[in-house]
């Protein structure tokens, strides 16, 4: 089954085919033979036509039960990917997502110092949604989606972990 992989502002049609014991990745129509081995939960050794790559997925918590979205980070904590149904990719306007489908996630463990939006608010890409604090430093968290605030998942004063869902913004129709 075809899915859409979202990487930052890019999205790619991807599919995994398994036939006669051979697994093939189809990436934007291009096929390559792959071999995948789960070394431990979330850690994969993958051979792409022989090239050896290791991937460690840390599933980010998603508070949106309808999302079918699948967010992941590499071990260095820097990249966010989502895997969605192609139809949803169109609907959610993922062309402008930062960390997956308009969902703002916590980049660190810390405390929510100030919430600047509530559900129903109209927001612009780059607008600050809330302020977090960790190790006595404050950080303004901004959205990368223009649209409407759908859900605010946290309260002021709450302590959150890395990857916790903070605010979901529904993208405006393009």
């Amino acid at each position: 089954m075809k899915r859409t992989l979202i990487l930052g502002k890019n999205q790619h049609d991807v599919e995994l085919l398994r036939q006669d014991g051979v697994t093939t990745l189809v990436w934007e129509g291009q096929s390559q033979t792959i071999d995948i081995l789960e070394l431990e939960p979330g850690c994969y050794s993958i051979l792409l036509d022989g090239r050896s790559v290791e991937v460690r997925l840390d599933k980010a918590k998603s508070a949106d039960p309808e999302a079918h979205a699948y967010s992941a980070m590499l071990y260095d904590g820097a990249y966010a990917f989502s895997l969605v149904d192609p139809r949803r990719a169109l609907l959610s306007g993922t062309g402008s997502t930062g960390s997956g489908g308009g969902l703002l996630m916590s980049p660190m463990p810390g405390k929510i110092v100030k919430l600047l939006v509530k559900a129903g608010d109209q927001v612009q890409e780059g607008q600050t949604l809330l302020v977090m604090e960790a190790v006595k430093m404050q950080d303004e968290l901004k959205t990368s989606t223009t649209g409407t605030v759908k859900t605010v998942h946290v309260q002021e004063g709450a302590a959150v972990e890395t990857g916790a869902s903070l605010v979901t913004v529904e993208a405006a129709e393009a």
Partner: protein, 475 residues
């Protein structure tokens, strides 16, 4: 003086570092830990461990009476302070002395003298060690401005009791003077409880080069060559190396001897570091003296083959230095990267939390001085440095390539860290060429690399595979 059981009044990688040498010397160790550190590696590795209070350091690691109390309970007859915390606290050194406990460091008077920048500068001048032209007295705002005009702009304002870059201000023009001075005084007051500020000639694009010195109680002093510490971010060292690509054999000898003049002038005992600023013409100027073991001592250990902690203990026991000046080796080149729990994508904001996954590099001439383990918690209360990765090569380029290889192997999960930043630095042309100065990182050179196509493909494969597995489980 007897040193038969050592209390380590510190935490993190430096506590581990001291424990390792003590093990080799057959000396039992006593760890202390705060509420945030019960599960810390130093507690697990020490022979004994005692609780000393709440997480904030001022309520635990900095409380002299608590450390003294653990000495009594455990029977420790010596204290190794590491760096930071009580390491340059003369009051602590005096309290240990009074209790008959060996403080592994210099005499308290020496700590006091070198703790004041102005007093240290007076010592250096009297000892014939070159200093940056400037007015060492602290004085009122008007007088400081007049003095600055005499020295000639640009000038540097510095907190008299300062350190670590806090309370330092570069002033290019008399017009900016008043506002810069106000901010310097404010920072000095809040950081050191004292708003005294003095003024110096600003050395533009200076190099920070320091000399490791070692002295015993019999009046012997040696230097162990230089460390190049110019790669700094906001006055904090990021990468250190030894030797320095800037230093010639003549300059090394001149700096070493100048450093020893200072050490002799204060009857120094133990491990110390004399910091210098050097300019493009290889002039060098006394900056300050640190009266303790330095974070970056591993690069000196690599090029000399010596164990600096062992030397500290031998000196504390009253033994003579094991080697004379001409026996101190200098082999190859060493590099050290400070690995921090911090986010280079978010202005290097600290990133405390649980280390969910850890794979440390190993192999030929790679050393990882780590204070953590897989499953460890990096507390938000202390310095977020989690490890010092150092490499040795027969040439500077070999040490750099080895460091890049080791960084590639280093895997840390669960927290943000600066491994990718160090990797990028190893490829940064000015760094590779050795064209270092303390502002080398001011120019934004770094952007996290785009993932190559293979990594993208692999992420797609892993995610599709996990999704399939999940769906199979659900049905």
């Amino acid at each position: 003086m007897p040193v038969t059981k050592i209390l380590i009044a510190n935490r993190g990688e430096i506590a581990i570092r001291v424990i390792r040498t003590c093990r080799e010397m057959g000396i039992p160790t006593v760890a202390v830990y705060s509420e945030a550190d019960r599960s810390a590696l130093h507690v697990r590795m020490a022979t004994e461990a005692y609780f000393i209070g709440p997480a904030p350091a001022r309520e635990s690691y900095l409380v002299i009476e608590k450390i003294l109390d653990v000495c009594k309970r455990s029977g420790a007859d010596a204290v190794h302070p590491g760096y930071g915390f009580l390491s340059e606290n003369a009051e602590a050194a005096r309290a240990f002395q009074a209790a008959g406990i060996t403080f592994i460091g210099p005499d308290p008077d020496c700590i006091v003298k070198m703790g004041s920048k102005t007093a240290a500068r007076e010592v250096a001048i009297a000892a014939g060690c070159p200093v940056v032209p400037g007015i060492q007295e602290t004085m009122g705002d008007e007088a400081l401005l007049e003095a600055s005009k005499k020295i000639g702009f640009p000038v540097m304002l510095k907190a008299a009791m300062g350190g670590g870059g806090k309370g330092m201000r570069l002033v290019h023009h008399p017009d900016e003077f008043t506002s810069s001075l106000a901010r310097a005084r404010g920072e000095a007051l809040s950081s050191f409880g004292d708003d005294s500020v003095y003024v110096e000639k600003a050395i533009l694009q200076p190099r920070h080069i320091e000399i490791q010195v070692f002295s015993d109680t019999h009046g012997n002093h040696v230097y162990m060559h230089e460390r190049e510490c110019s790669v700094q971010r906001r006055h904090q060292k990021v990468i250190e190396e030894a030797p320095s690509p800037h230093v010639t054999p003549e300059m090394r000898k001149a700096m070493g001897e100048a450093a020893l003049q200072v050490a002799r002038a204060v009857n120094y005992v133990g491990a110390g570091t004399v910091e210098f600023l050097a300019d493009a013409d290889r002039n060098f100027y006394f900056l300050e003296m640190n009266t303790r073991l330095q974070v970056e001592h591993p690069v000196t250990e690599w090029i000399t083959g010596l164990d600096l902690v062992k030397w500290q203990i031998l000196v504390a026991r009253g033994e003579k230095l094991p080697l004379t000046q001409d026996q101190i080796p200098l082999n190859g080149w060493a590099m050290e990267c400070r690995v921090y729990a911090e986010d280079p994508d978010k202005n290097f904001m600290p990133s405390p939390g649980r280390i969910t996954f850890l794979r440390t590099p190993s192999g030929r001439n790679v050393r990882d001085d780590s204070g953590v383990y897989e499953g460890a918690e990096v507390p938000m209360f202390y310095d977020p440095m989690i490890s010092k990765l150092s490499t040795w090569g027969s040439t500077r380029l070999e040490a750099i390539e080895r460091m890049r290889g080791a960084l590639t192997e280093y895997r840390i999960g669960g927290i943000r860290h600066n491994i990718a930043f160090h990797e990028a630095l190893m490829d940064y042309a000015p760094f590779r060429e050795g064209a270092l100065h303390t502002g080398i990182l001011d120019k934004p050179f770094w952007k996290r690399k785009e993932q190559g196509p293979d990594l993208k493909f692999a992420v797609a494969v892993a995610m599709l595979h996990e999704l399939e597995t999940e769906q199979r489980r659900a049905t």
